[in-house]
Symmetry: C2
Subunit: 187 residues, 2 copies
Amino acid sequence: MRRRNYRKSDFPVSMIRKYLEPGPIVLVSSGWNGKSNIMTMGWHTVLEFTPSLVGCIISEGNFSFNLIRMSRECVINIPTVDMMEKIIAIGNSSGSEKDKFKAFNLTPENGSEVKAPMIRECYASFECRISDDRLINDYNFFIFEVLRAHVADFPKYPRTVHYRGEGIFMVSGKHVSFPEKFKPENL
Amino acid sequence: MRRRNYRKSDFPVSMIRKYLEPGPIVLVSSGWNGKSNIMTMGWHTVLEFTPSLVGCIISEGNFSFNLIRMSRECVINIPTVDMMEKIIAIGNSSGSEKDKFKAFNLTPENGSEVKAPMIRECYASFECRISDDRLINDYNFFIFEVLRAHVADFPKYPRTVHYRGEGIFMVSGKHVSFPEKFKPENL
Protein backbone atom coordinates (compact mmCIF):
# COMPACT_ATOMS: atom_id res chain seq x y z
CA MET A 1 0.00 0.00 0.00
CA ARG A 2 1.28 3.45 -0.79
CA ARG A 3 3.06 5.42 1.85
CA ARG A 4 0.96 8.15 3.43
CA ASN A 5 2.38 11.54 4.12
CA TYR A 6 -0.18 13.46 6.07
CA ARG A 7 0.28 17.21 6.19
CA LYS A 8 -0.34 18.22 9.78
CA SER A 9 -1.25 21.36 11.69
CA ASP A 10 -1.44 22.31 15.34
CA PHE A 11 -4.60 21.11 17.00
CA PRO A 12 -6.01 22.25 20.38
CA VAL A 13 -4.88 19.80 23.07
CA SER A 14 -8.19 20.24 24.89
CA MET A 15 -9.97 18.63 21.91
CA ILE A 16 -7.95 15.49 21.30
CA ARG A 17 -10.88 13.37 22.53
CA LYS A 18 -12.05 13.76 18.91
CA TYR A 19 -9.38 11.24 17.92
CA LEU A 20 -8.78 9.19 21.09
CA GLU A 21 -12.26 8.69 22.52
CA PRO A 22 -13.38 6.44 19.62
CA GLY A 23 -10.76 3.97 20.88
CA PRO A 24 -8.25 3.42 18.06
CA ILE A 25 -5.07 1.42 18.33
CA VAL A 26 -2.23 3.92 18.77
CA LEU A 27 1.52 3.74 18.27
CA VAL A 28 3.49 5.04 21.23
CA SER A 29 6.97 6.32 20.37
CA SER A 30 9.64 7.03 22.94
CA GLY A 31 13.33 7.67 23.34
CA TRP A 32 15.87 7.70 26.12
CA ASN A 33 19.62 7.48 26.43
CA GLY A 34 20.24 6.98 22.70
CA LYS A 35 17.55 4.33 22.24
CA SER A 36 14.16 4.85 20.64
CA ASN A 37 11.19 2.57 20.29
CA ILE A 38 7.60 2.19 19.10
CA MET A 39 4.88 0.08 20.67
CA THR A 40 1.32 -0.77 19.66
CA MET A 41 -1.19 0.10 22.35
CA GLY A 42 -4.94 -0.26 22.75
CA TRP A 43 -5.62 0.33 26.44
CA HIS A 44 -6.02 4.09 26.80
CA THR A 45 -8.62 6.64 27.79
CA VAL A 46 -9.05 10.38 27.87
CA LEU A 47 -9.14 11.57 31.50
CA GLU A 48 -9.60 15.34 31.30
CA PHE A 49 -10.01 18.16 28.77
CA THR A 50 -7.91 20.83 30.54
CA PRO A 51 -5.21 20.03 31.37
CA SER A 52 -5.36 17.53 28.52
CA LEU A 53 -4.85 14.20 30.29
CA VAL A 54 -4.68 10.67 28.85
CA GLY A 55 -4.27 7.47 30.86
CA CYS A 56 -2.86 4.28 29.38
CA ILE A 57 -1.38 0.91 30.20
CA ILE A 58 2.23 0.32 29.17
CA SER A 59 3.20 -3.08 30.44
CA GLU A 60 6.51 -3.41 32.24
CA GLY A 61 7.34 -6.29 29.89
CA ASN A 62 7.65 -3.82 27.02
CA PHE A 63 11.00 -2.34 26.04
CA SER A 64 9.17 1.02 25.93
CA PHE A 65 8.29 0.86 29.62
CA ASN A 66 11.72 1.94 30.84
CA LEU A 67 12.30 4.44 28.03
CA ILE A 68 9.09 6.20 29.01
CA ARG A 69 9.50 5.86 32.76
CA MET A 70 13.04 7.26 32.64
CA SER A 71 12.49 10.03 30.06
CA ARG A 72 8.98 10.72 31.45
CA GLU A 73 7.89 11.42 27.87
CA CYS A 74 6.33 9.78 24.85
CA VAL A 75 4.37 10.56 21.72
CA ILE A 76 0.96 8.98 21.13
CA ASN A 77 0.56 8.59 17.37
CA ILE A 78 -2.62 7.56 15.54
CA PRO A 79 -1.98 5.23 12.60
CA THR A 80 -4.55 4.54 9.90
CA VAL A 81 -5.74 1.30 8.31
CA ASP A 82 -3.19 1.55 5.46
CA MET A 83 -0.54 0.88 8.14
CA MET A 84 -2.19 -2.35 9.33
CA GLU A 85 0.79 -4.59 8.59
CA LYS A 86 3.16 -2.29 10.46
CA ILE A 87 0.78 -1.93 13.39
CA ILE A 88 0.77 -5.71 13.81
CA ALA A 89 4.50 -6.16 13.20
CA ILE A 90 5.36 -3.43 15.71
CA GLY A 91 3.19 -5.15 18.31
CA ASN A 92 4.85 -8.49 17.64
CA SER A 93 8.48 -7.52 17.95
CA SER A 94 10.64 -6.04 20.67
CA GLY A 95 12.67 -2.86 20.66
CA SER A 96 15.34 -4.78 22.52
CA GLU A 97 16.07 -6.66 19.28
CA LYS A 98 15.66 -4.02 16.61
CA ASP A 99 15.31 -0.34 15.85
CA LYS A 100 11.65 -0.29 14.90
CA PHE A 101 11.83 3.00 13.00
CA LYS A 102 14.39 1.41 10.67
CA ALA A 103 12.90 -2.08 10.64
CA PHE A 104 9.46 -0.82 9.64
CA ASN A 105 10.56 2.07 7.45
CA LEU A 106 8.98 4.76 9.59
CA THR A 107 10.29 8.31 9.86
CA PRO A 108 11.15 9.85 13.22
CA GLU A 109 10.33 13.53 13.41
CA ASN A 110 11.22 16.06 16.09
CA GLY A 111 8.46 17.44 18.23
CA SER A 112 8.64 20.79 19.98
CA GLU A 113 7.78 19.85 23.56
CA VAL A 114 9.40 16.46 24.09
CA LYS A 115 12.51 14.69 22.89
CA ALA A 116 10.63 11.49 22.05
CA PRO A 117 10.33 11.14 18.27
CA MET A 118 7.00 11.53 16.48
CA ILE A 119 6.08 9.14 13.64
CA ARG A 120 5.67 11.09 10.42
CA GLU A 121 3.47 8.49 8.70
CA CYS A 122 0.72 8.66 11.32
CA TYR A 123 -2.48 10.74 11.03
CA ALA A 124 -1.89 12.51 14.35
CA SER A 125 0.85 12.84 16.97
CA PHE A 126 0.34 13.97 20.55
CA GLU A 127 3.44 15.01 22.49
CA CYS A 128 3.06 13.77 26.07
CA ARG A 129 4.77 14.08 29.44
CA ILE A 130 4.04 11.99 32.55
CA SER A 131 1.72 13.97 34.78
CA ASP A 132 1.00 11.39 37.52
CA ASP A 133 2.96 8.22 38.17
CA ARG A 134 1.02 6.99 41.22
CA LEU A 135 -0.51 3.98 39.49
CA ILE A 136 2.51 2.83 37.49
CA ASN A 137 3.72 0.39 40.11
CA ASP A 138 0.37 -1.27 40.75
CA TYR A 139 -1.15 -1.25 37.27
CA ASN A 140 1.45 -0.06 34.75
CA PHE A 141 -1.01 2.82 34.34
CA PHE A 142 0.58 6.07 33.15
CA ILE A 143 -1.19 9.43 33.28
CA PHE A 144 0.15 11.75 30.59
CA GLU A 145 -0.47 15.40 29.89
CA VAL A 146 -0.71 16.13 26.18
CA LEU A 147 1.47 19.19 25.65
CA ARG A 148 1.01 19.66 21.92
CA ALA A 149 -1.07 17.99 19.23
CA HIS A 150 -0.32 17.68 15.51
CA VAL A 151 -3.22 16.48 13.35
CA ALA A 152 -3.57 15.85 9.61
CA ASP A 153 -5.46 18.53 7.67
CA PHE A 154 -7.09 15.85 5.51
CA PRO A 155 -9.08 13.59 5.57
CA LYS A 156 -11.59 14.96 8.09
CA TYR A 157 -11.63 11.68 10.01
CA PRO A 158 -8.92 9.00 9.98
CA ARG A 159 -9.81 5.41 9.12
CA THR A 160 -8.54 3.85 12.33
CA VAL A 161 -8.21 0.26 13.53
CA HIS A 162 -9.66 -0.95 16.83
CA TYR A 163 -8.45 -4.18 18.42
CA ARG A 164 -10.62 -6.98 19.83
CA GLY A 165 -7.87 -9.47 20.71
CA GLU A 166 -7.31 -12.81 18.93
CA GLY A 167 -5.82 -11.05 15.89
CA ILE A 168 -9.13 -9.37 15.04
CA PHE A 169 -9.50 -5.66 14.30
CA MET A 170 -12.57 -3.51 13.74
CA VAL A 171 -12.03 -0.77 11.16
CA SER A 172 -13.77 2.53 11.85
CA GLY A 173 -16.95 3.01 9.84
CA LYS A 174 -19.20 5.86 8.80
CA HIS A 175 -19.95 8.98 10.79
CA VAL A 176 -23.30 10.29 11.93
CA SER A 177 -23.91 13.71 13.43
CA PHE A 178 -26.68 14.85 15.78
CA PRO A 179 -25.53 18.11 17.38
CA GLU A 180 -29.11 19.38 17.51
CA LYS A 181 -30.01 16.64 19.99
CA PHE A 182 -27.36 17.72 22.51
CA LYS A 183 -27.45 20.38 25.18
CA PRO A 184 -24.70 22.86 24.27
CA GLU A 185 -22.75 22.08 27.46
CA ASN A 186 -22.76 18.38 26.61
CA LEU A 187 -21.26 18.64 23.15
CA MET B 1 -36.49 1.28 15.08
CA ARG B 2 -37.52 -2.11 16.40
CA ARG B 3 -36.68 -3.05 19.96
CA ARG B 4 -33.78 -5.46 20.28
CA ASN B 5 -33.89 -8.33 22.67
CA TYR B 6 -30.48 -9.89 22.67
CA ARG B 7 -30.29 -13.38 24.11
CA LYS B 8 -27.22 -13.44 26.33
CA SER B 9 -24.88 -16.01 27.81
CA ASP B 10 -22.11 -15.95 30.37
CA PHE B 11 -18.84 -14.71 28.92
CA PRO B 12 -15.36 -15.02 30.49
CA VAL B 13 -14.58 -11.82 32.37
CA SER B 14 -10.91 -12.12 31.38
CA MET B 15 -11.93 -11.62 27.72
CA ILE B 16 -14.14 -8.55 27.87
CA ARG B 17 -11.47 -6.52 26.05
CA LYS B 18 -13.10 -8.03 22.97
CA TYR B 19 -15.97 -5.59 23.47
CA LEU B 20 -14.43 -2.69 25.42
CA GLU B 21 -11.01 -2.22 23.79
CA PRO B 22 -12.51 -0.99 20.47
CA GLY B 23 -13.76 1.99 22.47
CA PRO B 24 -17.57 2.04 22.21
CA ILE B 25 -19.86 4.40 24.06
CA VAL B 26 -21.28 2.46 27.01
CA LEU B 27 -24.30 2.94 29.24
CA VAL B 28 -23.47 2.73 32.94
CA SER B 29 -26.37 1.68 35.15
CA SER B 30 -26.39 2.01 38.90
CA GLY B 31 -28.67 1.90 41.93
CA TRP B 32 -28.52 2.98 45.57
CA ASN B 33 -30.98 3.70 48.32
CA GLY B 34 -34.06 3.21 46.16
CA LYS B 35 -32.80 5.29 43.22
CA SER B 36 -31.45 3.98 39.94
CA ASN B 37 -29.86 5.73 37.00
CA ILE B 38 -28.19 5.34 33.61
CA MET B 39 -25.42 7.48 32.17
CA THR B 40 -23.72 7.60 28.77
CA MET B 41 -19.94 7.21 29.04
CA GLY B 42 -17.06 7.19 26.60
CA TRP B 43 -13.94 7.60 28.72
CA HIS B 44 -12.97 4.07 29.73
CA THR B 45 -10.14 1.60 29.28
CA VAL B 46 -9.35 -2.00 30.05
CA LEU B 47 -6.61 -2.14 32.71
CA GLU B 48 -6.00 -5.86 33.30
CA PHE B 49 -7.15 -9.30 32.10
CA THR B 50 -7.09 -11.11 35.48
CA PRO B 51 -8.50 -9.78 37.71
CA SER B 52 -10.69 -8.21 35.04
CA LEU B 53 -10.21 -4.48 35.63
CA VAL B 54 -11.73 -1.50 33.84
CA GLY B 55 -10.99 2.15 34.55
CA CYS B 56 -13.38 4.96 33.70
CA ILE B 57 -14.26 8.57 34.34
CA ILE B 58 -17.59 9.27 36.01
CA SER B 59 -17.79 12.97 36.60
CA GLU B 60 -18.93 14.17 40.00
CA GLY B 61 -21.47 16.36 38.25
CA ASN B 62 -23.40 13.25 37.23
CA PHE B 63 -26.28 11.96 39.33
CA SER B 64 -24.68 8.51 38.90
CA PHE B 65 -21.50 9.58 40.69
CA ASN B 66 -22.94 9.28 44.18
CA LEU B 67 -25.04 6.20 43.43
CA ILE B 68 -21.88 4.39 42.32
CA ARG B 69 -19.59 5.80 44.99
CA MET B 70 -22.01 4.87 47.77
CA SER B 71 -23.10 1.43 46.45
CA ARG B 72 -19.58 0.74 45.12
CA GLU B 73 -21.21 -1.04 42.16
CA CYS B 74 -22.41 -0.48 38.63
CA VAL B 75 -23.11 -2.31 35.38
CA ILE B 76 -21.30 -1.35 32.19
CA ASN B 77 -23.69 -2.06 29.31
CA ILE B 78 -22.84 -1.96 25.61
CA PRO B 79 -25.59 -0.45 23.46
CA THR B 80 -25.76 -0.83 19.68
CA VAL B 81 -26.41 1.67 16.93
CA ASP B 82 -30.14 0.93 16.87
CA MET B 83 -30.23 2.62 20.33
CA MET B 84 -28.60 5.84 19.08
CA GLU B 85 -31.49 8.13 20.03
CA LYS B 86 -31.61 6.72 23.54
CA ILE B 87 -27.84 6.93 23.95
CA ILE B 88 -27.97 10.65 23.16
CA ALA B 89 -31.09 11.33 25.24
CA ILE B 90 -29.63 9.52 28.26
CA GLY B 91 -26.48 11.60 27.98
CA ASN B 92 -28.47 14.81 27.79
CA SER B 93 -30.76 14.39 30.80
CA SER B 94 -30.21 13.97 34.51
CA GLY B 95 -31.28 11.16 36.79
CA SER B 96 -32.10 13.81 39.36
CA GLU B 97 -35.08 14.81 37.20
CA LYS B 98 -36.37 11.52 35.87
CA ASP B 99 -36.22 7.74 36.15
CA LYS B 100 -34.28 7.02 32.98
CA PHE B 101 -35.34 3.37 32.74
CA LYS B 102 -38.98 4.52 32.55
CA ALA B 103 -38.34 7.69 30.55
CA PHE B 104 -36.47 5.81 27.82
CA ASN B 105 -38.44 2.57 27.95
CA LEU B 106 -35.51 0.42 28.99
CA THR B 107 -35.84 -2.74 31.07
CA PRO B 108 -33.91 -3.17 34.32
CA GLU B 109 -32.78 -6.74 34.89
CA ASN B 110 -31.26 -8.30 37.97
CA GLY B 111 -27.65 -9.36 37.83
CA SER B 112 -26.17 -12.05 40.02
CA GLU B 113 -23.17 -10.26 41.53
CA VAL B 114 -24.34 -6.70 42.08
CA LYS B 115 -27.59 -5.00 42.98
CA ALA B 116 -27.19 -2.38 40.24
CA PRO B 117 -29.67 -3.10 37.42
CA MET B 118 -28.52 -4.37 34.03
CA ILE B 119 -30.12 -2.97 30.85
CA ARG B 120 -31.85 -5.77 28.97
CA GLU B 121 -31.82 -4.01 25.58
CA CYS B 122 -28.02 -3.78 25.45
CA TYR B 123 -25.72 -6.20 23.59
CA ALA B 124 -23.62 -6.92 26.69
CA SER B 125 -23.68 -6.18 30.42
CA PHE B 126 -20.69 -6.34 32.74
CA GLU B 127 -21.40 -6.45 36.47
CA CYS B 128 -18.79 -4.32 38.24
CA ARG B 129 -17.61 -3.49 41.74
CA ILE B 130 -15.17 -0.73 42.72
CA SER B 131 -11.73 -2.27 43.11
CA ASP B 132 -9.61 0.84 43.73
CA ASP B 133 -10.92 4.28 44.66
CA ARG B 134 -7.56 6.07 44.96
CA LEU B 135 -8.04 8.29 41.91
CA ILE B 136 -11.69 9.19 42.42
CA ASN B 137 -11.00 12.39 44.34
CA ASP B 138 -8.37 13.75 41.96
CA TYR B 139 -9.73 12.60 38.59
CA ASN B 140 -13.20 11.07 39.07
CA PHE B 141 -11.40 7.93 37.86
CA PHE B 142 -12.97 4.68 39.08
CA ILE B 143 -11.25 1.31 38.84
CA PHE B 144 -13.81 -1.49 38.65
CA GLU B 145 -13.44 -5.23 38.75
CA VAL B 146 -15.78 -6.98 36.32
CA LEU B 147 -17.33 -9.80 38.35
CA ARG B 148 -19.56 -11.31 35.69
CA ALA B 149 -20.15 -10.70 32.00
CA HIS B 150 -23.30 -11.35 29.96
CA VAL B 151 -22.91 -11.13 26.19
CA ALA B 152 -25.35 -11.61 23.30
CA ASP B 153 -25.06 -14.91 21.43
CA PHE B 154 -25.73 -13.13 18.14
CA PRO B 155 -24.53 -11.21 16.17
CA LYS B 156 -20.85 -12.10 16.47
CA TYR B 157 -19.85 -8.44 16.80
CA PRO B 158 -22.08 -5.58 17.93
CA ARG B 159 -22.49 -2.47 15.77
CA THR B 160 -21.33 0.02 18.33
CA VAL B 161 -21.13 3.82 18.38
CA HIS B 162 -17.95 5.72 19.21
CA TYR B 163 -18.07 9.37 20.22
CA ARG B 164 -15.87 12.19 18.86
CA GLY B 165 -17.49 15.12 20.68
CA GLU B 166 -19.51 17.88 18.96
CA GLY B 167 -22.47 15.54 18.50
CA ILE B 168 -20.54 13.31 16.07
CA PHE B 169 -20.36 9.54 16.34
CA MET B 170 -18.35 6.97 14.42
CA VAL B 171 -20.21 3.70 13.84
CA SER B 172 -18.12 0.54 14.01
CA GLY B 173 -17.21 -0.84 10.61
CA LYS B 174 -16.02 -4.09 9.10
CA HIS B 175 -13.74 -6.62 10.77
CA VAL B 176 -10.42 -7.94 9.54
CA SER B 177 -8.53 -10.86 11.05
CA PHE B 178 -4.79 -11.62 11.00
CA PRO B 179 -4.11 -14.16 13.76
CA GLU B 180 -1.34 -15.75 11.67
CA LYS B 181 0.70 -12.57 11.96
CA PHE B 182 0.71 -12.62 15.76
CA LYS B 183 2.93 -14.42 18.20
CA PRO B 184 0.63 -16.73 20.18
CA GLU B 185 1.39 -14.89 23.44
CA ASN B 186 0.38 -11.58 21.85
CA LEU B 187 -3.08 -12.59 20.67
